[in-house]
Symmetry: D2
């Protein structure tokens, strides 16, 4: 028996960066967090502590800042591609580079004189994500959304489920459905219109969540994904994680009160967790696209 | 010497509650977290473990849910007042009740057919707050906002400051100013138009943040508070906490690049922390209004 | 009516600092987070944006690091006193300085050759705290502990409590009692043996929690505080916050199983929250000692 | 083109459970969080909202509690195996079950009369983990540790690294090395001595971290893994994630002070992130063992 070095990667995580475009009277602000991970021939660093193949993570951080100045951000998928291609091209021992970017949006503040040119407020929750992997042959681009809290006050059932001796849950034909959506979709090609695609896909996801009458959270998830795939041939695959944030109807009968679907107690834990992927039957193989992305099958 | 029992309070913290108003076709959803704290004669519980004066925190939780059903939420200040007055009125040993409520807003999802009636999304960050204290004589109402991230891309200086032997900071006549606003204001009276006042005050705070040319974060804070007090006689006092979330301009000269106020590194820690209060010179005394509210002078 | 500037303070929050004493073969490591807040005559900064009285928060950060090098940390109460006295003495407009310090402990790793000289592991939860306030006349020192999770598997009742129409809770003569202790005590004098006092007081608190048969969480809290005051004349006052982390016995009867106090579901929210203070009847007045400390009456 | 349902799973996440063994005078307490995920034939739930194959997540939660009562916890790997085998055996449409368990340790409080029988304190950080996957043919068991903060005050270099035009980092022959270890190891067989193996492996990891002179964090990681594999034939593979929590030496020269490796500023973000796996060359294939475990290659 011998010990073998298996898969490995290293990089700089959570490089925070704010970019301000001052070229117009109304400034434009971009707020991103960038994590790099390089894969390749780093065996000697592991076995012998020989760092001659290791580009420091500090250098990776510097590169992120320099590229933001020299070329700007653009769509985060584009920024990730530029960086990943650079790391693979410039370091012979790096065979694959993975860039993960999270973007938080800021909006201009409304004032009495109209929209402010230089003052912004930010919603802390929802964020846009990208994971770009570039190897010698190909570029893989995954876009996504995280932290999006959604709730339906009606139009959600859960009935006809399997039962065993541990089943006590009552069936319901009208419940509150609440979730915190994490969704990622893989593009079939690398150089496309990321900005307009993102806006369209986000709209489809929200609209479908609102419109579909839900008989199972799995059905909601699947329909949302299917609609995205049906609308956009550029999307090869979509994966979603939808926790079921339970809202329990409070029993008020001890106090002489009814509760006709009005007062709920949202629970923190435990929560249901529904995860699934949908893809085209002719989708190209994902290769390393999904490697080390947490929380997906 | 003898040991004396000093100030004390007890209650139920973070009772999570979602209320759905289904009386119109388009549902209305309220999402709040309620914390109660009772003060009064609880000496025997402390000294002897005699609970005869102690209304269980479980009962306090039940009361929150029952009142939400029987009367609805209304503005969170009103809900807090109803609850606090109940606890003082119904338990002879409770001389003062404090209700703290945090509300998260949900908005209807836009669909192709217009705005959804039953589907909502939520911004996770900004929230509305209320702290209501009712004792035998008076009601005290403090409203507020938390988690509001604000940023100015220009129009902020920091110059002419005091120096000592540990001062290395350079003066600047144009910096990025970013903060996460926590603000609370105390009303002069208890039964007023909380909803419209909140909307107006929020607007003034944002607008003033955007409009004022900042020579010091203290000046920004003070001007925001002053404008609220000038516009609304119902506001007796306003307190703010404004962390200074530093954005450091990245030095790109090692890479042959300039950086004319474009690429910044936001820092997590440490951060400046500016806290201040502004009040009318004829403001009524606060009494217990601010007791156990964290983070204010 | 005129707007008046009320209480205010400013400083640098969460200056992270690790100090390594290499003067002995076995290194000693200190891991602290320091927050400063200065109070005084800063009116012109607020009203006019005139910073001439404002020592930058960046300078305050520098001072923390310089003092750590030049004098070391010592007990965190001592470090806070040195810093606070410096800020009051060196800046004529600063009339009061408040230093808050949080310390995380590290322990040496055990190896086959004994205890490591240079390798440490850290428990992430429990931490030691100090809040020191120095004004022109006096120094105020508050020590404490945070993040200490405690649980009793028996020896805790809750019976004989007050009832009203919203009370449904059953009495219990044996429940699980779990809490996350936050405790702070105010010393009667400023220059005492902080290290040995801390160790003794921590021991008393833990021991009393274990030993006292609890008829109410208030009684547990009070007894813990009383024992500390009884043992140490240097302690003028002690304040505690003890959330009641409910552990609900799971009902297993639907599955044909009993549950004789064996399987519990710990709940996240809501939780009871018991806060109280105990003091000597001859304790000196606290002055500003407790200002802006969150969560205490 | 058609849309295909890809990989999917569903279950109940973070079922919190405390188990108290009262069979001896000194109670024994177990504190775990259990997450289940079932895989199998759930296509009709996704496509048609037909739940007839779907065992509710509520039932999965009930099963966790019932099994804890009826059989106890044992080692968390054993508890996971019992549950996973049950879900696969009892539901014909479930072809694979994955149980993830996190355990927090509690220790008895020391009192003057010795160690308490019924009172415990808990360290909040370090925790023990298990991920068990059972399918029709095999059981896969992964054990691990999370949240373990480690620091070396000397014995760590970083030199001889690759350079490009964005490299500014200076070489160092003595730096502070700090990390928060996440480690998981896969066992070659399913029914072994999990408790003693865990204790031995934890000891090896800590000891090796302390003893190895580090020329690269990769080398530290690899050596820790290799030592575990060398000592325990039951371990087929080990994976580690070691963030490099940078400690920057503070420049005190502006204040006339040197800083000979004494005062450091620990940084929050960004941080290096080193991830790697080591395995036996004769290790059995992992199958689905690592599926949906976050953060590993």
């Amino acid at each position: 028996m011998a010990v073998v070095l298996g898969e490995n990667q290293y990089g700089k995580a959570e490089v925070r960066l704010v970019h301000i475009d001052r070229s117009t009277r109304a400034h434009r602000i971009r707020d991103i967090s960038v994590s790099s991970a390089l894969r390749g021939d780093f065996t000697s660093a592991h076995l012998d502590g020989d760092n001659s193949h290791v580009l420091p993570t500090d250098t990776q951080k510097n590169t992120v800042y320099a590229f933001a100045r020299d070329g700007g951000i653009g769509e985060i998928e584009e920024f990730g591609l530029r960086l990943a291609r650079h790391f693979v091209a410039s370091n012979v021992w790096t065979t694959s580079a993975r860039m993960e970017i999270v973007e938080h949006g800021w909006q201009r503040i409304s004032t009495t004189g109209g929209t402010a040119d230089h003052a912004f407020s930010r919603a802390a929750g929802e964020h846009r994500t990208a994971v770009v992997t570039v190897d010698r042959d190909r570029a893989h681009v995954i876009a996504g959304i995280g932290g999006l809290l959604l709730l339906k006050s009606t139009g959600s059932e859960f009935r006809g489920f399997a039962r065993d001796k541990y089943t006590t849950l009552a069936e319901t034909d009208d419940r509150v459905l609440a979730t915190e959506l994490t969704v990622r979709w893989r593009y079939a090609a690398a150089d496309i219109e990321y900005g307009s695609l993102f806006a369209s896909i986000r709209g489809i996801l929200l609209r479908t969540f609102a419109d579909v009458h839900s008989r199972a959270l799995q059905q909601t998830l699947y329909t949302m994904g299917r609609e995205v795939l049906a609308a956009h041939a550029d999307v090869a695959e979509i994966r979603m994680s939808m926790p079921n944030r339970h809202h329990f109807l409070v029993d008020l009968t001890p106090f002489g009160l009814d509760n006709p679907d009005i007062v709920y107690q949202p629970a923190d834990r435990p929560y249901g967790k529904i995860e699934g992927s949908m893809l085209r039957d002719d989708a190209p193989a994902p290769g390393p696209a999904w490697l080390t992305i947490p929380g997906f099958c």
